[in-house]
């Protein structure tokens, strides 16, 4: 029996804009995923604990504050420390072009910027999940 893919969506740091992540949460829900919404103002430590306890296959981080080059590496480091490298990490929000290759090199699976269609995110997760991730 196949079971729905579980994804944690969270905003780390002090960024208080959550419209984007809520729109993505709705789209993923409607495509059949189980979305664990962790919400605003999360610490990297809290996010990693959530991913572990919820046994999620994916973690989606939304950052619009410009703090991504500090917070994303910290989350990735904590995931490695927790032996959760298998968890795929997606980043969305306002990420300058120049930072995208750096984030991908750190181990982020994909960066979705403004203008990304919801369908693109859904298709990406479906394809990767069917290919055996999670």
């Amino acid at each position: 029996m196949s079971s729905p893919v579980r994804i944690v969506l969270a905003k780390v740091g002090l960024d208080g804009h959550d419209r984007g992540i809520k729109v993505v949460a709705r789209a993923l829900r409607d495509s059949g995923l189980h979305v664990i919404y962790a919400g605003l103002w999360q610490t990297p430590e809290a996010v990693v604990r959530t991913v572990a306890d919820e046994d999620a296959a994916w973690l989606g981080l939304s950052l619009l504050s410009g703090a991504h080059m500090t917070l994303v590496p910290r989350v990735l480091e904590l995931l490695r420390e927790a032996k959760l490298e298998r968890v795929g990490v997606l980043v969305g929000g306002i990420i300058p072009e120049a930072d995208i290759p750096k984030l991908l090199a750190m181990g982020v699976a994909r960066v979705f910027g403004p203008g990304t269609s919801l369908d693109e995110i859904v298709q990406f997760l479906k394809a990767r999940s069917e290919a055996g991730h999670a």
């Binding site: 829900r29 495509s31 059949g32 979305v35 962790a38 610490t43 604990r49 306890d53 919820e54 046994d55």
Partner: protein, 297 residues
């Protein structure tokens, strides 16, 4: 793989617990139940139920804080609805209850398929997993449901029903269902006007025939009033759950076994099975008994 998980579980590795809960949710490895270590002492299993928006998750957040000051560890199994159309779910309970990461707190969000009651399938097994892991208190948050969702009573020690001010007139409380299964009734959001009146109406309904021992409290997560009193009322309730297997759990296993046999019979499609099933579909009552006998073999 299962052995490694169970080893990790015995070493109190939280990730092993998290993975085993996933297996239980998927209905795999339900045999795990037989191999679980016995809990050192039984957990107190508390259900929090009530209609959507009454404040179940927020109150659980407050209860967690209260229990941690008493050095009690807490596991929360939080149920939210799953879409009957897409199969998707937005599980948003932990967002309202999780504080900073704490080894004494485990929160797991669970999706409940539409029309299957107020709690996740195989919740019984999940409760036994977190109990065997050694949490002092297990809190089950039901889907925001109400009348008729009473199955949770069999799985837990104490059922707390949350109400809010201005929820229904006095006849509302006469209806059968959720008021009957509650061990503790709490009027939440008691900082709002009308809480006292709602509590009085419920009290009067409970006492209409004879004095009822069910406590009716008022509390507010906003002003943090009444949380300690709620825990006292919960602690005063006896541990009700049966020992290893509840009837509910056994019935669930029998249903699963029967469903598996039915699927197997459908796949092989022996001629006498097909004929019997056709007779059943035409409404022949004797054929139903024959089908049952065939599945029993």
């Amino acid at each position: 793989m299962l052995e490694a998980l169970l080893d990790g579980f015995r070493r109190r590795d939280r990730q092993a617990l998290a993975r085993l809960v996933s297996l239980a949710a998927r209905g795999e490895q339900t045999a795990v139940a037989a191999t679980l270590p016995c809990p050192a002492k039984p957990s107190r299993v508390v259900a929090i139920t009530g209609s959507p928006g009454v404040g179940k998750s927020t109150l659980i957040g407050q209860l967690i804080e209260h229990l941690r000051t008493k050095n009690l560890t807490v596991a929360v199994l939080a149920c939210d609805p799953q879409s009957p159309i897409s199969g998707g779910a937005l599980l948003g309970d932990r967002f309202r209850m999780a504080g900073a990461p704490d080894d004494g707190v485990f929160i797991r969000s669970l999706a409940v398929p539409g029309g299957r009651g107020a709690v996740a399938e195989r919740l019984d097994l999940m409760i036994r997993l977190v109990e065997a892991f050694g949490f002092d208190v297990i809190i089950v948050e039901t889907v925001g449901a109400g009348q008729g969702d009473t199955a949770v009573r069999d799985l837990t020690d104490v059922v707390v029903l949350l109400l809010q001010p201005e929820s229904g007139d006095d006849l509302q409380w006469e209806k059968a269902g959720v008021l009957e299964v509650a061990d503790v009734i709490a009027v939440h959001k008691a900082d709002l006007p009308g809480a006292e009146q709602t509590a009085d109406q419920v009290r009067a309904t409970l006492d209409v025939v004879a004095h009822s021992p069910t406590p009716v409290l008022r509390l507010s997560s906003k002003t943090r009033c009444g949380i300690a009193e709620l825990w006292q009322a919960i602690e005063a309730c006896p541990l009700r759950r049966g020992t290893a297997h509840s009837n509910h759990e056994l019935l669930g296993r029998l249903q699963e076994e029967l469903a598996a046999r039915f699927t197997a019979a459908e796949e092989t499609r022996q001629p006498d099975w097909v004929t019997t099933l056709d007779d059943c579909k035409r409404g022949d009552p004797a054929a139903l008994a024959r089908a049952l006998q065939m599945l029993a073999r």
